[in-house]
């Protein structure tokens, strides 16, 4: 058995399995490639020993090097290739080894993928999934630590999604591949080893946030690595008698404002926890949208974010320090509650 996880037998009825985040991504890729010959995986070294982050184990053995295709180093070029493939019937999944390289493919991502259908008057669909390996804490330095989750959130025609757990990764990656539109799928490199429950065969709803924990005093919205930190913060807060609702935002585009608004209507307090600068991100957008919609707050909303004016440093203690911690998230919630 060369794959990390058993392949999907009957995709109709989800079966519950324990997988790592890495295995969950592998399983989603395997299930989609097995179900649809049009799905291809491409990127730098995607087939080399399971890929750089070992998410692709067994895929080249199962589907061959034509569908699990190593590319030369040229992100903008192979993103354009993926677009061309999608126009003629394939459903490429493109691996971008570090989110920091998304701007290297800037033209393809900004001017091509989202606009191609539009500027043809709807003649095409562009079912391209871009897997962006995101996030800090790898001590990779300032050019290899971005999430980029909000970089493309303003682009009509695109979708952007983030995976915070094995279960979410499996279902959301399948959802991204199934969608007929370009989707940027963000995985966090610090999560690959996490274990969790995966409903093999299930697929996530498009554009739906997930309420992971219900609560009545304060709402925390988070993505990627911040979700588990928010959940831990909620545990700490519970010890102090504070009831926290934790929402995994999942989709950055479209934003599920309804789910967040419903939660904040109940709690009146909001903390956005984001591994990104607050300016120009989903956290700011949510707070703005709610405020514009007339949200009344029990306390001013708060953001736990990366520093506005500091790139991500290499030095390990400094990198640790700038990434929002459980303590900082909990502290923000406490402040919102006046405690």
């Amino acid at each position: 058995m060369s794959t990390l996880a058993e392949p999907l037998a009957a995709p109709s009825e989800p079966t519950t399995v324990e997988l790592t985040y890495r295995e969950a991504i592998n399983a989603a890729l395997e299930d989609e490639m097995a179900a649809d010959e049009a799905v291809v995986l491409m990127g730098e070294d995607v087939s080399a020993d399971g890929g750089v982050f070992k998410t692709n184990h067994g895929l080249v053995e199962q589907f061959g090097p034509s569908r699990v295709r190593n590319t030369p180093i040229c992100e903008n070029g192979f993103m354009g290739v993926a677009l061309g493939m999608s126009l003629t019937g394939l459903r490429p999944v493109v691996e971008i080894m570090f989110a920091d390289f998304l701007p290297t493919a800037g033209d393809a991502i900004v001017n091509q993928l989202p606009k191609y259908r539009y500027m043809s008057g709807g003649q095409f669909s562009v079912p391209v999934t871009v897997r962006s390996i995101s996030g800090a804490l790898g001590r990779f330095g300032t050019q290899h630590s971005a999430t980029g989750e909000s970089w493309f959130m303003s682009l009509p025609g695109l979708r952007v999604v983030t995976a915070s757990s094995p279960g979410a990764a499996y279902e959301l990656l399948r959802s991204a591949i199934h969608d007929d539109n370009p989707v940027i799928f963000h995985e966090h490199k610090a999560l690959y080893g996490r274990k969790g429950t995966v409903r093999r065969g299930a697929i996530a709803d498009l554009g739906k946030a997930a309420v992971l924990r219900e609560g009545s005093d304060v709402t925390i919205v988070a993505t990627l690595l911040m979700v588990e930190r928010a959940l831990k913060a909620a545990d700490q807060l519970a010890a102090d008698g504070i009831s926290t609702e934790v929402i995994d935002l999942r989709w950055i585009r479209p934003l599920d404002l309804a789910t967040i608004a419903a939660s904040v209507s109940k709690t009146g307090r909001l903390v956005v926890s984001e591994e990104q600068v607050h300016a120009g991100g989903w956290g700011a957008t949510i707070i703005s949208e709610l405020t514009m919609a007339g949200q009344s707050w029990h306390a001013a909303p708060r953001a736990v974010s990366l520093p506005a004016d500091l790139p991500i440093p290499y030095s390990p203690p400094l990198e640790n320090e700038i990434i929002p911690s459980v303590e900082r998230i909990a502290a923000a919630a406490r402040t919102a509650l006046g405690r």
Binding site: M79, D107, G157, N181
Partner: protein, 321 residues
Amino acid sequence: MSDPLSPDHVAWFRKMLEIRLFEEKVQELFMQGAIQGTTHLCQGQEAVSVGAIGAMRPGDVQTNTYRGHGEALALGMAPETAFAELMGRSSGCSGGVGGSMHLIDVSKGNIGANAIVGAGLPIAVGAAVAFQIRQQPHVALSFFGDGATNIGTFHEALNMAAVWTAPVVFIITNNLYGEYSPLRSTTPLDDLARRAGPYGFPGVIVDGQDVDAVHGATSDAVERARRGEGPTLLEMKTYRYRGHSRADPAKYRPEGELERWTSRDPIELLGARLAADGRVSPDDQAAMRAEVQAEIDAAADRAVQSPYPTLEETERYVYAG
């Protein structure tokens, strides 16, 4: 080149006239304000569009650029549809939201007209690789300018095409200028076909004023690709009679250059051969021109009757499904 004249030549001649008169009409409509913004005309380059597109077979596809009216018409887009697009009308090929730079028609193998220099090349490679993966016997062509050979995607696309032996033909429409810059001010060589060298596939210099030469070289490259032998880079030596875009009076050209090129006008070259050969007399050619002109005028008149789209109508162009 001295291919035996075939029936295609008459059709080609007519198509080249159609492109020429279409472009002249676009210019006129621009002056009248019926078309707004910018437009990039291709008078002088008709033999490249018609000769190369003529080498395509059903199922083959191509990408081109903002200067893509010639390819679009050669592929069979109705002038009315093209005019309507340039006028932003709902009966345009892209429902009026694309405009002059995006004459696209997937049903005719026209899978892209791109306003970003160099962006069409990897897209064509992607289509070609998809044909390979699905074992379809099709070929992808990509048209682009001399200036586009300086941008990274040119290199990236040619490299991938070579490594994967993709069935793709790269066609440089070398009209000597990238916007206002003469080729040699931005590019360290005259013969861009040499740029195929480091990819290990052929680069061919072609007389872009001679539709037969264009057709012959492209057919060879297309069939080579179809046989699984990989890409070719074709350099079509040609010239654009007008400036880069509407805003450009093309004052940067050395004296006499335009005249040297119009003296080898691709339509006149073919017309002379058709006349010499006795196939289409000068009078018949004039009649044909008048006929095409009338069609073009009528097409423009009909296009302008098409309503503008509403924003609501165009919403469905954004997301599929």
